[in-house]
């Protein structure tokens, strides 16, 4: 029995030693893709809230298409389709696919957060002579952030998990490393358990950070009546 446990412990140590070097790639894909998604998502949400129909319509189409096609298919399309034309590497293609896909989800979160701020806030700021950009930056977004942060943080966690799909184009992140280990040593149960544990550590860690952020940015007396 003791011998069995010792043997299992050795296997796990071995697996973790193999997987951990791939962790930074998973984190790098997720963080880069998410930054791209936030930037694109904000622009798309602003386009959807614009007074100009010629901006609103394409933005809606962008969101509809990206939400309606599986991320896996988008990854194939960007790597094998666009990637061949633009000579994209695996990392760039993976980041681009995850980032663009998540920008659609985030733009909807931004849009609902921004439109939840009452019209009077815009009007007060405009009547003080602020430009539209200043109104957005200093009045609307700081208030919308409180509405946006929790669901947007959920999307970050979801994108971390979905970064595993990028393994399909041969980018050596956590899931890919798991597959490599398995195909070399044929240890299936322990390998996927270890991969799962590593994802769980990352996502649980992130959830804790998000909860802390929400508490940190709570404003006194805000959300009561104003």
């Amino acid at each position: 029995m003791l011998e069995f446990l010792a043997q299992q412990a050795q296997i796990f140590l071995d697996i973790f030693a193999y997987l951990i070097p791939a962790l930074p790639t998973t984190v790098a894909i997720t963080v880069t893709a998410y930054l791209l998604a936030v930037t694109l998502g904000l622009l798309v949400s602003l386009a959807r809230l614009s007074n100009w129909k010629s901006l609103r319509w394409p933005a809606k189409a962008y969101v509809d298409v990206l939400r309606g096609v599986p991320l896996l298919v988008q990854i194939f399309f960007i790597y094998f389709g666009l990637g061949k034309v633009l000579h994209l590497g695996r990392f760039s293609a993976g980041v681009l696919a995850v980032g663009i896909c998540y920008s659609a989800y985030l733009s909807e979160i931004f849009r609902s957060g921004i439109s939840a701020i009452e019209k009077g806030q815009h009007e007060a700021a405009l009547s003080l002579g602020m430009t539209r950009l200043q109104v957005l930056r200093y009045v609307i977004l700081p208030q919308a952030a409180r509405i946006i942060v929790p669901p947007a943080a959920n999307e970050f966690i979801a994108s971390l998990k979905d970064s595993s799909l990028v393994s399909i184009i041969g980018l050596r992140e956590l899931t890919r490393a798991g597959r490599e280990y398995y195909s070399q040593f044929f240890v299936d149960f322990q390998t996927w358990l270890a991969v799962g544990i590593l994802y769980l550590i990352l996502t649980l860690g992130l959830s804790r950070i998000v909860a802390w952020l929400e508490k940190r940015y709570r404003v006194h007396g805000y959300g009561v009546a104003h």
Binding site: E118, G120, Q121, E123, A124, A125, L126, S127, L128, G129, M130, T131, Q134, Y138, V139, P142, Q143, V219, H220, G221, Y222, G223, V224, A225, H226
Partner: protein
């Protein structure tokens, strides 16, 4: 008196519709520098719409508006220039809930007038004292009463050193015991010579402070004149009817 009057607000034949609703049906009026004008009328008469057109929160469909020589036309620079010189106070205060009273006041001078942090802060503190809230500099709007919020909102508008102040039913959302403190601040402002256009149902305030009263009904300016004349001897039947309901 033969002091030459200087028109600071000039409104001519202004028309404004919201869909099928004709909110303003050809309104012309003018306001002299330093004058205090109160606009009264039943709800839906177009008085608030008129006020909101004066700083282009609503765009007019026809006619013209000139503020201190600047036409409110399609040129966005003109709109911006007018807004920096016209302050507005809203019925629902519209303070920025994520900022303290002091920072509410500092924001526009910092961003629009490009004032330094220290100068803007010093001016904000002076303005808060002026509206009787010198001890509330670090309070968030959520911690203030309605009357206090509205006084901060007035201070915030004054921080831009406007030439004109617009008040859109500034006391309508307040509990009765808080109306007085807001009206007192407005009265002081009028005494200092500020040009003011006030949409209000406060007839006592109007009688005491306003030089002129305008009565709106169904999108038209029905009657205007010195406040006491309009209040006590209204000429038009619709004005008489309105005051009969309001003043009883």
């Amino acid at each position: 008196m033969n002091i030459p009057s200087e028109k600071i607000i000039d409104v001519r034949d202004v028309v404004k519709s919201f869909g099928n609703v004709r909110a303003l049906r050809g309104v012309s009026l003018s306001v002299d520098k330093g004058e205090v004008v109160v606009i009264v009328g039943p709800s839906g008469s177009g008085k608030s719409t008129m006020l909101r057109c004066l700083n282009a929160l609503e765009r007019i469909d026809g006619g013209s508006i000139t503020i201190d020589g600047v036409p409110l036309d399609a040129d966005s620079r003109h709109i911006h220039q007018v807004r920096t010189e016209v302050g507005m106070v809203f019925q629902s205060f519209n303070l920025f809930p994520h900022l303290t009273a002091r920072k509410n006041i500092m924001l526009a001078p910092r961003l629009v007038r490009k004032k330094g942090e220290d100068e803007a802060r010093a001016e904000a503190d002076i303005l808060l004292k002026k509206v009787g809230l010198g001890d509330k500099t670090d309070a968030f709007p959520g911690q203030l009463s309605g009357g206090q919020k509205q006084r901060v909102a007035i201070a915030r508008a004054l921080a831009m050193q406007p030439k004109i102040m617009l008040f859109d039913e500034p006391t309508s959302a307040l509990d009765p015991e808080m109306i007085g403190e807001v009206l007192a601040v407005m009265q002081n402002l009028a005494r200092e010579g500020m040009t003011m256009v006030v949409v209000s149902h406060e007839m006592g305030f109007a009688r005491e402070v306003a030089d002129r009263m305008l009565f709106f009904d169904e999108g038209r300016l029905v009657e205007e004149g010195p406040t006491a004349d309009v209040l006590d001897r209204p000429k038009e039947a619709r004005t008489q009817e309105f005051f009969k309901k309001v003043l009883k």
